[in-house]
């Protein structure tokens, strides 16, 4: 590497980092408790778990859940029926209209007894506040997309950081932390050590975070293209007079894709189902395929399967990105490791800021390269 290209990469590392550091600190600090959001919600009473022993243990009639939810909110429309990932429970999500973006209420039911368990708080509570800060800084979609750009800068700062790591380490053995040469070298060595060890984790969580910021645009694109295509033949039909109960739609979907299980159901009128259909989203049963979904379109009037497709690649990418960002796919030990690595990245960000501040205090521009210059050979190559 020539000294010119080193200077360029160093400049990229400095400026990409400086621009995104404050936001990355916010993301890392809010992300730390959010790794344990399920546990925190239970602890704070924002969520409940189904009782361990249920009186009955047979699959519940889903329509009874819908009827109960409707009786609790007579003016609202059912948007989604969602099966709990971890426990025997169903969630009914309602909105002012079926197409409303925000939920007006979410009710939790025991999937063995149909017993009402809990009204999930909407847009309130500590965990929700942390989540909103982390996802959009309370600024909606523009906030999310802005954080996506900050995430891209973070990825660029990691890549350029790796490039300048080489010249810095030409004269130091891996992992050297100099304790006796002043605080600046001490923190520089720690910045290099913590940064290079967590580099892959940081890249993966950074890139998957950027992908997650695109979830609404990607879902919107999918709805405008493939879902529109799937429901196009019904476009000019009159609205059905009656609607089959959701249980029939689920049975039809289950027999159409027998090796998969129901994950959630979008009700007629939601953007994911169109006015005439239920869209039943099926998932696989292995740890990897459980993350992936297959949409089955069921005619709400006849209860027959109309169409079924695989998810487009960009939604598969989104669904794979989620666990790799949240760290929720390997039990509590993985969550603890996720939190530890997150804390290490906080130290990398903070020490980077400190090193930049210390360097600003040095007037001679050449001092910037003093550490790397020791690795220079006479012909100016690093």
């Amino acid at each position: 590497m020539t000294i010119d290209s080193f200077r360029r990469w160093y400049w990229i590392h400095k400026w990409t980092s400086l621009v995104c550091t404050v936001f990355l600190l916010l993301l890392c600090l809010t992300g730390l408790p959010l790794v344990f959001s399920d546990e925190l919600r239970l602890l704070l009473g924002e969520a409940v778990e189904p009782p361990e022993h249920a009186a009955k243990a047979e699959p519940v009639i889903l329509d009874t859940l819908i009827k109960d939810a409707r009786s609790r909110r007579p003016d609202d429309s059912v948007k989604f029926l969602i099966r709990d990932d971890d426990g025997p429970a169903w969630f009914v999500a309602l909105g002012d209209t079926p197409a409303a973006q925000e939920n007006s209420a979410t009710f939790m039911y025991d999937s063995r007894t149909a017993e009402f368990l809990h009204a999930v708080p909407q847009n309130e509570g500590v965990v929700n506040f942390l989540f909103r800060l982390h996802v959009d800084m309370l600024a909606g979609l523009p906030g999310t997309l802005f954080l996506g750009v900050m995430g891209l800068l973070f990825v660029a700062s990691i890549v350029s950081g790796v490039v300048v790591y080489g010249p810095f380490m030409r004269k130091l053995p891996f992992g050297a932390v100099r304790n006796d040469r002043g605080p600046r070298l001490h923190w520089l060595d720690l910045h290099n050590l913590l940064g290079i060890v967590t580099v892959l984790w940081g890249l993966v969580v950074g890139i998957t975070g950027v992908v997650n910021t695109l979830d609404r645009p990607l879902l919107g694109y999918w709805q405008m293209t493939e879902i529109s295509e799937m429901i196009a033949p019904w476009k000019d039909k009159a609205m059905p007079l009656s609607r089959k109960p959701v249980d029939e739609a689920v049975r039809a979907a289950e027999s159409a894709v027998p090796d998969m299980a129901v994950r959630f159901i979008a009700f007629p009128g939601t953007p994911f189902a169109g006015p005439y259909h239920y869209m039943v989203f099926m998932r696989g049963d292995s740890p990897l395929t459980a993350r992936l979904l297959k949409p089955v379109l069921v005619d709400a009037e006849t209860g027959q399967v109309s169409d079924s497709r695989n998810l487009p690649w960009y939604l598969t990418l989104l669904l794979i990105s989620q666990p790799l960002h949240f760290g929720d796919y390997g039990g509590m030990p993985l969550k603890i490791l996720w939190a530890l690595l997150d804390a290490i990245v906080i130290v990398v960000l903070w020490s980077g800021l400190y090193l930049w501040w210390k360097k600003r205090q040095q007037t001679a521009e050449d001092m910037m390269f003093s550490d790397a210059a020791r690795g220079l050979s006479p012909e100016g190559r690093i």
């Binding site: 790796v162 790591y165 080489g166 380490m169 030409r170 004269k171 130091l172 053995p173 891996f174 992992g175 050297a176 932390v177 100099r178 304790n179 006796d180 060595d189 720690l190 050590l193 913590l194 290079i196 060890v197 967590t198 580099v199 892959l200 984790w201 993966v204 292995s286 740890p287 990897l288 993350r291 794979i320 666990p323 790799l324 796919y329 390997g330 039990g331 030990p333 993985l334 490791l337 530890l340 690595l341 290490i344 690795g375 050979s377």
Partner: protein, 90 residues
């Protein structure tokens, strides 16, 4: 007796115990082998728990736990060396 494996192994172990800055610049492979090794182990850890439960999860815990362990190892090493050189240890 000369052991043919001792050379490379000692080189590896030498890599594991950081000393004071050296005079001779390291080659690219010396600089990069630990970062590459650790990144490969991280990648295994990140993917393993996605593929299965049970022992797949354990592989993830060990592989990502190793990253935290490596950091602690080098920090503890440098502290004990610092204490030793500043005379606080016999």
């Amino acid at each position: 007796m000369h052991d043919p494996i001792a050379g490379p192994v000692q080189e590896w172990i030498g890599n594991l115990s950081p000393r004071r800055p050296m005079n001779r610049p390291l080659t690219a492979s010396q600089v990069w082998r630990m970062p590459v090794l650790l990144s490969v182990v991280s990648a295994v850890g990140l993917i393993s728990a996605l593929l299965g439960d049970g022992s797949w999860d354990v592989v993830s815990w060990v592989a990502l736990g190793a990253q935290v362990g490596v950091i602690l190892w080098y920090i503890v090493c440098s502290r004990s060396r610092h204490l030793a050189s500043s005379g606080s240890l016999p």
